[in-house]
Subunit: 376 residues, 2 copies
């Protein structure tokens, strides 16, 4: 017996995935790791150039006017597009960028995302929307994407999000903040060159690094885990500690190790789940637009009740690395606004269940969550 | 400027790879990890069935008559082929199997390799030879394979070789023992189900596990390493220690952890190199046909001069796990035979250089190597 051919592959995949107890994890196509590996970008993308169709370099606006731009291997109609990632990417921005590229070039050879998690997620989403009809908001969810995107490569310039290896791209849409989770979403290529993270601003570097650290603490203390994710999570955590706890000063090795921590942390997501910090920070992000890395830090700083050892170590790292964690960001919010955050947060059931067990609603009441939000 | 279209992709890739300082590492397509994930095999391979073309299950002959065979998701013309891996796979066997499949079916949907490193390597090679002309011996080397193989999946039933994630498949040919190293070689899918390793014979399980352990000791003590390979190597080594040093008795967790050790050890190969044990054991394997895992153990047992801590720990593990390491296997060999082994071993320049530095020939003379072989 074979499947009736009229069932499209994406629907077949969606059906099959949903029947599987263990996630069948789609890996990125190629990985290159090394100081200076960015210099190989020309050779790496060359085989993926299609006639005169340009490569689009989608670059974090942080690099406007910086020397990295002169190192891009531009050819023919290739274009550099700066991504304003002051806020996390919106579906409307994805749709606009994809439409502009279609209007200007018809087709493109590929999208090369260079930046932090937001830029990489944006690059994945634009790649997908070059080949899928409608709006990116139609595909927020699991296995809704119908066609593979154009060739896409991710080049992190900040370490910690794990976006370089994830099968999602988190987007804020008209009705929800949710990624385009699909087997078409992971990059075809990632270039891990720790040199590119050398000049990251110290606070930003810390917040993004803590995205990895906090994820590991949450998943390793959770109820949902197997040896695959545990191995990766432990390695990521150990590397974060080397960098932020043990090291006397930041050096090249710190960049090398934090880049591997991010990669390992991202891989560990395959069979693990995050916990309280993520559940609470989603509320902040929804209401106030707080970015993921810093939001997690603001929340985790107050979670001594749930992760006592982790929070103690976190506070040590904050002090040692002379980092500012914003305080009192919920001061003056209305009851209605607190309710919005609480509603968003309470909706993250799998996260709460992973952190506090099946009876999590007995432990985490709306009143208790309100008190927690008031402390942020 | 574009490449002239008449240059085929494989040649372009070969040219480009050779110009790259950092290897651009091709990953396996999909990974599923979990106890019982083998039960998802039907759903996993379903989207890759092409009309009536059969899936070929290439299974280690160890499983002949065992219950695993009844769990294979056979359909239509699917065929089970048992692989005799008493000796490591030969190019002649690869060619014969591929020809038989072509004669019987014309085309096949895919090759599913189920077994240890030899079986998985055989599956990769047969997959490639379904779509490449000539003999597999024509492709022993680096980036010589011209066309992608048919769909191929690897399912380890022994942990330690790392063959599940490697970009090679080691074959003994008419003139050399060398793999078909190429970007077409890695599996499209691997299924990591630790349950499948439960009933492995104790000695065999140890030898294969030590393939991973010894690799890690050699690469972590070598001169050629970066943070990517170091992270994976350290994790693999730590897991080997948990299993073979710390554990009081073998249990399910041992199988879980050793399977991850193998995977991590395999990934660590990307930017690392092996050393003395491999260089010496290649000589044994060439002359006597000694299999890789046990050969490495026989050699490593005598390498206290080069890896003092590792060999001490190895001897502890041998004793603790009540393992037999064969002794005196070179007794009675002729001078000519010793010379053959020495020639093969001295030819492994990158391994010696990694272990002993650029001036390795001053440290490891033919006389010294002869004495080492005499002790095995």
């Amino acid at each position: 017996m074979s499947f009736v051919p009229s069932i499209p592959l994406w629907l077949k995949n969606k059906f099959l995935q949903s029947n599987m107890k263990f996630r069948n994890f789609k890996m990125v196509g190629y990985v290159v790791y090394g100081r200076g590996s960015f210099n190989q970008l020309n050779e790496i993308i060359e085989p993926h150039r299609k006639e005169d169709d340009p490569m689009i370099f989608l670059v974090d606006h942080f690099f406007k006017g910086k020397s990295l731009i002169n190192r891009l291997p531009l050819r023919g109609h290739d274009k550099v597009v700066f991504a304003d990632v002051t806020y996390e990417p919106k579906t409307s921005l994805v749709d606009k960028l994809a439409q502009q590229l279609k209007d200007e070039f018809g087709k493109v050879s590929g999208i090369i995302g260079i930046g932090g998690g937001s830029t990489m997620d944006l690059a994945k989403a634009v790649s997908l929307m070059m080949n899928n009809p409608g709006s990116s908001s139609d595909y927020q969810g699991w296995d809704l994407v119908k066609f593979p995107g154009v060739y896409k490569a991710g080049i992190p310039t900040l370490s910690g999000t794990g976006a370089e290896v994830s099968r999602t791209c988190v987007l804020t849409g008209p009705t929800k903040k949710l990624g385009m989770n699909s087997d078409f979403t992971p990059f075809d290529q990632i270039v891990l060159d720790p040199e590119l993270t050398t000049n990251a601003p110290v606070n930003q570097r810390f917040y993004t690094g803590m995205d990895c650290y906090i994820h590991c603490i949450e998943s390793l203390n959770g109820t949902y885990l197997n040896e695959f994710s545990k191995s990766y999570g432990e390695k990521a955590l150990q590397l974060c500690r080397k960098v932020f706890v043990d090291k006397r000063e930041w050096d090249d090795e710190s960049d090398d190790q934090l880049m591997m921590a991010s990669y390992a942390g991202g891989m560990s997501i395959a069979y693990s789940q995050v916990g309280v910090a993520h559940a609470v920070s989603y509320g902040l992000s929804y209401l106030l637009g707080t970015k993921h890395g810093i939001g997690n830090c603001i929340v985790f700083d107050k979670l001594e009740e749930y992760y006592p050892d982790g929070v103690k170590e976190f506070k040590f790292m904050v002090e040692k690395n002379k980092i500012d964690i914003p305080q009192n960001i919920t001061k003056g919010l209305s009851d209605e606004q607190f309710d919005t955050m609480i509603n968003v947060s309470m909706g993250m059931k799998p996260l709460w269940e992973n952190a506090l067990g099946r009876d999590w609603e007995k432990t985490m009441t709306r009143e208790k969550l309100r008190k927690l939000y008031e402390r942020l």
